[in-house]
Homo-oligomer: 321 residues x 2
């Protein structure tokens, strides 16, 4: 994410810095997209995104092996490049290691390397430092996109699509927090998510997506980002949401870290392609709603109610609001 | 730094991952410089570096205001771009904030923004997350260099040069660790270092530097990086080392975080330029030694002894070896 901008929230206390950053960006022809989208884009099409994870905040020791921690941290950054339909090139891996982690540095890097290689990128650098108590990883992904797909192009009448099946990662976290084992399929969703790079580039080439992002805050929360950036309302049809095996509808709606693609496209553009897509990638492509005039996110529930959900999403497992 | 490679150390336990990363890089035409230099360089001249700092490891709360923490963290990453004679463009700022830090997020960003603007760059993105206990910042700097100056071009007969005066930051840290106030000039060296971007680009344009880096591990430690990368011995003449006011020779030799430029150049190239340089930037430019056949770092002490110093440098204030 380059969520610095939106992550500052709507509080007036950040208005000064937010306006300062906006002003600087407007005046700088070297930057095409600044904070607030999935990734930053320079004038030559260089795309950059960064994602920080801390032990005890984003995962607990015992949930993941070191290799899985490295893989997952790298995938989070690479998935942001997928969300722009960019071609990933390089990965910078910053790690703060406890004394106990030092013996596992190679496994952490091996996991990050596997995530990079899976999408055609390689580790080009990083930083390695000491942490007294808590493992910290911050991965920066760099790539290129001639025509990055942003969050701001959704228009009334466009259709809402999602790849894959949702909620598996959230279901695994729920199991662990109850002190139980996670089912193997939900565990896999948490520890081994895929960055949908090839899928996103296929969609950008064939489907004329008007807005796209990767699901990291949860379906409702991320849909609200498209709504806000595009100045529209996003309507989600609960009955259409593809729920992962072992997960609940709530996991799918509000759970985070699925890293699937959520995008909008004009009516008729993707409908004819979904069979080809599913054949090419063995990944579901599901229409789950549409775009309307308005703002925020509206849910059509399975029992026919209409619910307006302006906020929501995954806020780290320890502090869900 | 993109010190991942060298930071893994010489232990055999990292040979596998080191060889794996090297092999991947050799096979990828999109990457010109990988881990091990100050920054990574892509085939189109895009230059990237990242630097992570943790409260309690790189600084203690009370030494720095939040604005200074942000400024200093950003400068560390931007200084790596200076070391390649690159033009900085953008900065990504990842922050893990404690509950108490949240009220200071704007000051942290204001400091990072000031460091970026000072060298012609702007904040283009970042990540903001929660930390239960410890402030963490990881800054990624991106820029461009048509002809990056690497660490591997020093040859026997070349001269060794350094900008500025050394040891001020280390002297301030020594004072604080003794529970004393730091002198204002040494405090300034620690809290408000400059990334020598304009100076490095001037040197690259006029001085034909053969190897260059920014001082972050200390003069001896960083000189050993040039020696290792270039396959030469670097000789430092202690009597020539420009020591900052309030600092000792030991601070200058082994203290870290000066962020001055250390470079080599063929004899005669820089000698005639140093007056112009000092006039243009109001920064000292001092010849402090030369390059020989051999390896490691050799000190000519003030009292005429010869000391071979293969290792050394700043390893965080808590764990100096």
């Amino acid at each position: 994410v380059t969520s610095l901008h939106s992550a500052l929230g709507s509080g007036a206390e950040f208005d000064i810095i937010r306006n300062m950053l906006r002003g600087r960006l407007r005046a700088d022809p070297r930057v095409r997209v600044g904070p607030g989208d999935d990734a930053a884009v320079l004038d030559d099409g260089t795309v950059l995104s960064v994602d920080m994870v801390l032990e005890g905040v984003h995962f607990l020791r015992g949930w993941l092996t070191h290799e899985e921690i490295g893989y997952r941290a790298a995938t989070a950054a690479l998935s942001d490049l997928a969300a722009m339909a960019a071609e990933p090139i390089g990965l910078l891996v910053s790690m703060a290691l406890t004394d106990a982690d030092r013996a596992h540095a190679e496994e952490l890097l091996r996991g990050a390397d596997a995530a990079a290689v899976a999408v055609g990128a390689i580790i080009i650098g990083g930083d390695l430092t000491h942490s007294p108590d808590r493992l910290v990883l911050d991965c920066t992904a760099v790539g290129r996109a001639d025509r990055p797909v942003l969050r701001n192009g959704a228009r009334p009448g466009h259709r809402l699509w999602v790849t894959g099946r949702l909620g598996g990662a959230a279901s695994a976290v729920r199991s662990w927090l109850r002190g139980e084992e996670a089912a193997s399929s939900t565990r896999a969703a948490f520890v081994r998510p895929a960055a949908r790079v090839a899928e996103a580039r296929w969609i950008a080439r064939h489907g004329e997506p008007s807005a796209m992002l990767d699901l990291s805050d949860g379906l409702v929360g991320d849909a609200s980002h498209i709504a806000a950036a595009s100045g529209v309302r996003v309507v989600i049809d609960e009955a259409s949401v593809p729920v992962a095996a072992g997960a609940t509808l709530e996991d799918a709606l509000d759970g985070g870290d699925d890293y699937e693609l959520l995008f909008t496209a004009p009516a008729g553009h993707v409908e004819a392609l979904s069979t080809d897509f599913e054949a090419a990638f063995d990944v579901a492509l599901t229409r789950i709603g549409e775009v309307e005039t308005g703002k925020g996110v509206r849910l059509r529930t399975r029992d026919g109610r209409i619910l307006d959900r302006d906020v929501g999403g995954y806020r780290h497992f320890g502090s869900r609001s």
